[in-house]
């Protein structure tokens, strides 16, 4: 039992990280109907900026651990947001109105460029960060095992919940959120109502990038190991999460992310850790076969 609960906690932590990345896929899909395949790379860049910012703040400027983490969070969000904005500006906006395949290919190209850019500028070696936040609370224990919820796990889950709640409020309650949803439902009509659609799309990319960068920061702290290639697998899994939850749906991204995290953790615990990615992507195939709209997705209705 204790083992199961421990895996559950690990899975939830992993799941929230996937969920943060999945939001970027789902929001961009919701508003311009394309899969931003460079989004995994944005997450990877977020992890790198987080590492650089954290080391810079603590080593160069003498910040403490907490100060360093806050500085890293702010700097990462800022710079990765800028990356997200630039990617849309450079690779997707010129292709607005082009056949759907064009931005998709552009996205894959962007992804390759970003990977190689980081590989060349930061080196291909694995970057490591020693575990910074240690300790936690004991949740329960039985004769064989003590279930431990670390401060870091709590921080990751807590911060994700705060960000998700904030995002939900922004989308549902503010004028920007209203404009964002209007653009997702009918961009031409939104423009006729005086909404600057391009700016809303840019903002959507920035939001997605900021959330992905927070996920990147979390992963850097959680695993302590990053390299230029982490964006590919994490991106694919977050994309799977978005599809599983129902692409275009925000609660779907959270639900999908948590499901993927749990599947991965439980599969690794009870079956074989080597096959965990196979398990995750089998889920993607099964979902696409039996419920293409995902758990919370809406059937695509052709507009008449």
């Amino acid at each position: 039992m204790a083992y199961f609960i421990q895996q559950l906690l690990n899975g939830l932590t992993l799941g929230t990280i996937y969920a943060l990345v999945a939001i970027g896929y789902t929001m961009v899909y919701g508003i311009i109907g394309m899969i931003n395949f460079a989004h995994g790379e944005v997450y990877m860049i977020g992890a790198f900026i987080a590492l650089i910012a954290f080391l810079g703040a603590t080593v160069h400027f003498g910040f403490g651990l907490t100060g360093g983490l806050i500085a890293a969070l702010v700097i990462t969000a800022l710079f990765t947001g800028l990356w997200g904005w630039s990617i849309e500006r450079i690779a997707y906006r010129p292709l607005r109105g082009a056949p759907k395949l064009a931005p998709l290919i552009s996205a894959i190209g962007m992804s390759i460029i970003l990977q190689n850019f980081v590989q060349l500028s930061q080196g291909a070696r694995v970057m490591t960060l020693p575990p910074l936040l240690q300790g936690g609370i004991e949740v329960m224990s039985d004769d064989s095992l003590t279930v431990n919820l670390s401060w870091l796990q709590m921080g990751i889950i807590g911060l994700t919940l705060v960000l998700m709640t904030g995002l939900t409020l922004i989308i549902n309650r503010t004028a920007f959120g209203r404009a964002q949803r209007a653009c997702a439902q009918d961009p031409k009509m939104a423009a006729l109502l005086g909404i600057h659609v391009d700016r809303v799309i840019s903002a959507t990319f920035v939001i997605g990038a900021v959330l992905a960068s927070v996920a990147g920061l979390m992963v850097t702290l959680y695993y302590g190991v990053i390299d230029f290639y982490i964006g590919f697998l994490a991106g694919m899994k977050a994309f799977t999460a978005a599809v599983l939850g129902g692409i275009g749906s925000l609660p779907g991204a959270l639900l999908g992310g948590l499901s993927i995290g749990l599947i991965e953790a439980l599969w690794s615990a009870y079956f074989s850790i080597e096959y965990k990615d196979v398990a995750v992507f089998s889920v993607l195939i099964l979902v696409l076969l039996f419920r293409p709209t995902g758990i919370l997705g809406r059937a695509e209705v052709e507009k008449i």
Binding site: R178, R181, A182, M189, A191, L192, L193, G194, I195, H196
Partner: protein
């Protein structure tokens, strides 16, 4: 208020409008009638920049808006109530109306909403309902209400009677006339329902295959035998 000269527009290689000259004087109701595919909707859409005019000029209140981005045209006080109503189906009636106030930015206020809800009591009853669940007539009222939320000076209406029951059609046209008189909003109306459209028009134009072929006052066109033959007697059922 609106002055269109030598306007050409179309989709890709296909030109739909071949040089339109037309004026909408301030405070008036101008109606454009024409058969399916004559280019009526293209004309209204081109005024809002989508598709772009390939040639010619659009002056709105003396400003050359021909190449302005769509959202900026809306903010200048030109509201477009498009064909098929285009309400946001998955948003509530209230959210749809609030979105209508976008062009005003910070100048938007609760009075506008109250005034519109007084005019459309049905919308007040359904304020928290999703717009997609409204009946066709209610959606049309919502679309007009949404357009009015921006306190426009010129309102473009694209086939407001389309697909509605005769009784509702009459209500909609009465409403258009009231808005024009009470709110002093200039109206440019595009209609297939020639009888109703011409009856309330101060000026009217007939569009045939991308060209204006006939112009006059609403009453003149209504009495014109050619118009009667083409647009009215064939469709007597539209005379409710």
């Amino acid at each position: 208020m609106l002055s269109i000269s030598g306007l050409h527009s179309g989709y890709g290689q296909i030109e739909a409008l071949h040089g339109i000259d037309l004026k909408v004087p301030p405070g008036s109701i101008v109606t454009l009638i024409g058969a399916n595919g004559a280019g009526k909707t293209t004309l209204l859409s081109t005024l809002c920049g989508h598709p772009r005019a390939t040639d010619g000029q659009i002056l709105f209140d003396g400003m050359d808006i021909t190449h302005w981005p769509t959202h900026q045209i809306a903010r200048a006080g030109l509201a477009h109530c498009p064909e098929g109503r285009r309400v946001f189906p998955r948003m509530t009636v209230l959210e749809n109306l609030e979105l209508g106030g976008t062009p005003l930015g910070a100048k938007a206020n609760a009075d506008d909403l109250e005034k519109i809800l007084d005019r459309f009591p049905r919308l007040r009853e359904r304020l928290t309902q999703r717009a997609g669940t409204l009946s066709g007539g209610e959606q049309q009222m919502l679309a007009i209400g949404r357009a009015l939320m921006s306190r426009p000076r010129l309102l473009l209406l694209d086939e407001p009677s389309l697909g509605l029951a005769p009784l509702i059609v009459r209500q909609i046209f009465e409403l258009i006339e009231t808005i024009n008189i009470q709110e002093k909003i200039t109206i440019f109306l595009v209609e297939q329902n020639a009888y109703h459209g011409l009856k309330l028009a101060h000026h009217a134009h007939v569009l045939v295959q991308g060209r204006v072929t006939l112009s006059g006052s609403g009453a003149e066109l209504l009495a014109n035998p050619e118009i009667r033959a083409h647009y009215l007697e064939g469709g007597l059922t539209t005379q409710t």
